[in-house]
């Protein structure tokens, strides 16, 4: 739940805000002309958004073309324009390309898995009896509520080389099966969090575990809104479960899926806390994603904040392109 700030719009369109009924210009109590009241109310919010989100974003865009090292941070030397140097440096670095690959591949895999598992559990919830359904919702709520840092810690412990439960469970497999599947029988001491590939496998598991409940509960809420007559009709026509899902459930839940997909992309694209914990700080450069890479470049010693900003800019641009479609659709659809 790092990012509830990017959670979705709750639309309440039925009650459109009306005009103030009082005649214009009346100034009772507040001493302000009526037309100015909304603007006055917006001042603090606008200041915060401007100063803490928009202005820094502009600064990232500027700093990506500057040298911002120790001398510049301490103010000993003025910032220096370097053109595209930051970008050529990161594009020349192998870490950038592996970080980009890690980011994109991880996002695709994690988003797909989360959506598939979440939807399946949502449909399951819808088909369970009332008691069982409540029981399961409360259960998955726990996974959802765990703070991202604690998520990382828990899965790091489960995958611990010596005393981890996962290695114990893998050892339970009959030797022939284990050898057949993985080419080995003894799992004691298997270090899962040493190389990039297995770090990302554990990360995917962690992220799916923590985010499928949100998808499931959202899908469940969406399913509750579908009139049951449609399903009865499908049943009368003898449609299979899969066909019913494809022809009725999916099309009707499409808007829900659109929102869930974009939210999942936003969350999984910039995953930081869980990865940071699983790899034990920014130590393993091959396992960086763009967020961690940007952080590591900017706060290494000596700091290279210009390069860090360039990486952050790349991350933001990719994310904005992916989500622009969604925002446009939302703006067009929604009677704000």
């Amino acid at each position: 739940m790092t990012d509830m700030s990017t959670l979705a719009p709750g639309g309440e369109r039925s009650s459109t805000p009306g005009r103030p009924r009082r005649p214009r210009g009346r100034t009772k109590a507040s001493g302000l002309p009526v037309w100015s009241i909304p603007y006055v109310l917006l001042i603090p919010g606008l200041l915060v958004i401007g100063a803490l989100l928009l202005y820094p974003m502009v600064q990232v865009g500027i700093m990506a073309f500057q040298k911002v090292g120790l001398a510049q941070i301490s103010g000993r030397r003025p910032t220096e324009w370097v053109g595209l140097e930051n970008f050529t440096r990161i594009f020349d670095s192998e870490i950038f390309w592996s970080a980009l690959r890690n980011t994109v591949v991880f996002a695709v895999v994690a988003v797909t898995l989360t959506l598939v598992v979440g939807t399946a559990v949502g449909v399951l919830l819808n088909n369970l009896g009332r008691k069982m359904s409540t029981f399961l919702v409360v259960g998955i709520m726990f996974a959802w509520a765990v703070p991202p840092v604690a998520q990382g810690i828990i899965w790091k412990w489960l995958f611990d080389a010596e005393a981890g439960v996962i290695n114990w469970a893998l050892n339970l497999l009959p030797d022939w099966l284990s050898s057949l599947l993985f080419g080995r029988a003894d799992w004691t001491g298997e270090p899962w969090l040493n190389d990039a590939w297995s770090i990302y496998m554990v990360l995917a598991l962690t992220v799916v575990w923590a985010s499928f409940p949100f998808i499931a509960v959202s899908v469940l809420a969406g399913l509750k809104g579908i009139p049951s007559e449609l399903y009865e009709a499908a049943k009368v026509d003898g449609a299979s479960a899969w066909r019913t899902f494809r022809k009725i459930t999916f099309p009707l839940l499409k808007p829900v899926f659109a929102v869930l997909t974009v939210l999942s992309i936003i969350w999984d694209f910039k995953v930081f806390s869980q990865l940071y914990v699983l790899m034990g700080g920014p130590a393993n450069r091959e396992a960086f994603n763009l967020s961690v890479y940007s952080y590591a470049e900017a706060f290494r010693s000596p700091p290279r904040m210009g390069s860090g900003a360039a990486i952050a800019l790349v991350l933001t641009v990719i994310l904005l392109i992916v989500t622009a479609v969604y925002v446009r659709q939302l703006v067009r659809q929604e009677d704000l």
């Binding site: 709750g10 803490l52 709520m141 828990i154 940007s294």
Partner: protein
Amino acid sequence: MTPLARKRLGKVVLNATALLVFAFAIFPVYWMVSTAFKANDQIFTTEFIPFPTHFTFEHVERVLTEGVAGNSIWVYLRNSAIVALGTVLIGAVFSLLAATAVARFRFKGRNTFLILLLVVQMIPAEALLIPLFLSVKRLGLYDQLLGLIVVNVGLTLPFGIWMLRTFVAAVPKTLEEAAWIDGASRFTTFWKVLFPLVAPGLVATSIFSFITAWNELIFALVLMSESSGYTMPVAIQYFFGQKGTDWGAIMASSTMMTIPVVVFFLLVQRRMVSGLVAGAVKG
């Protein structure tokens, strides 16, 4: 197979699947809590020990007294609480004002503001790390919890306004108009009529901000250098020492960090989902 038998079998399969999903969701959390109360010889073993047979508070005690990075875990819990509550207090006032503006008034620039709210929520917070770090430093807020509070207000406000405006809009205007006709001032109308009705929504919104600020890692990592100013997510990293990892202590601390979030979560989850889906389905 008769249709009845088939139906019964289907039900058994469904319930069995539900139990499996339940186990998958809950086991890691259970494992954290149970490890926190196991003695070390039951933690560091290749055996599987489902429950702590020698239930112990030694890890809880240790993190409270010895702690980590030179301070008791209390210090970090307190810092986290200060940051999260500070964020909530400032955020609640600001978001209530802005939400009232967009939900109760039609004015020029209203739509632009709403679109702005949507767009800024797409900006990854991680990207703002560098400029915000430099600004906080320049303003002399480096190593101060206030700096962290300010940043967290920025991260949580757009969503806070966005969510709260639906709660304000849901309060019937006629109530305010009635108060108004009775001669109440704008402020009285707001304070005595609108505010009590919006309060549950404000609580829900505040809980979201609280959780976001409580969980935040990356800014806390770069804005605080003195260990006495660490928040929980940062402090807990220091358990992963060079010489062996004290899993008992880590799990005890993680449990303490998780409890408030779980409690809050169970309180508000319903609102969150209904808000999301209502927004999506009607479109």
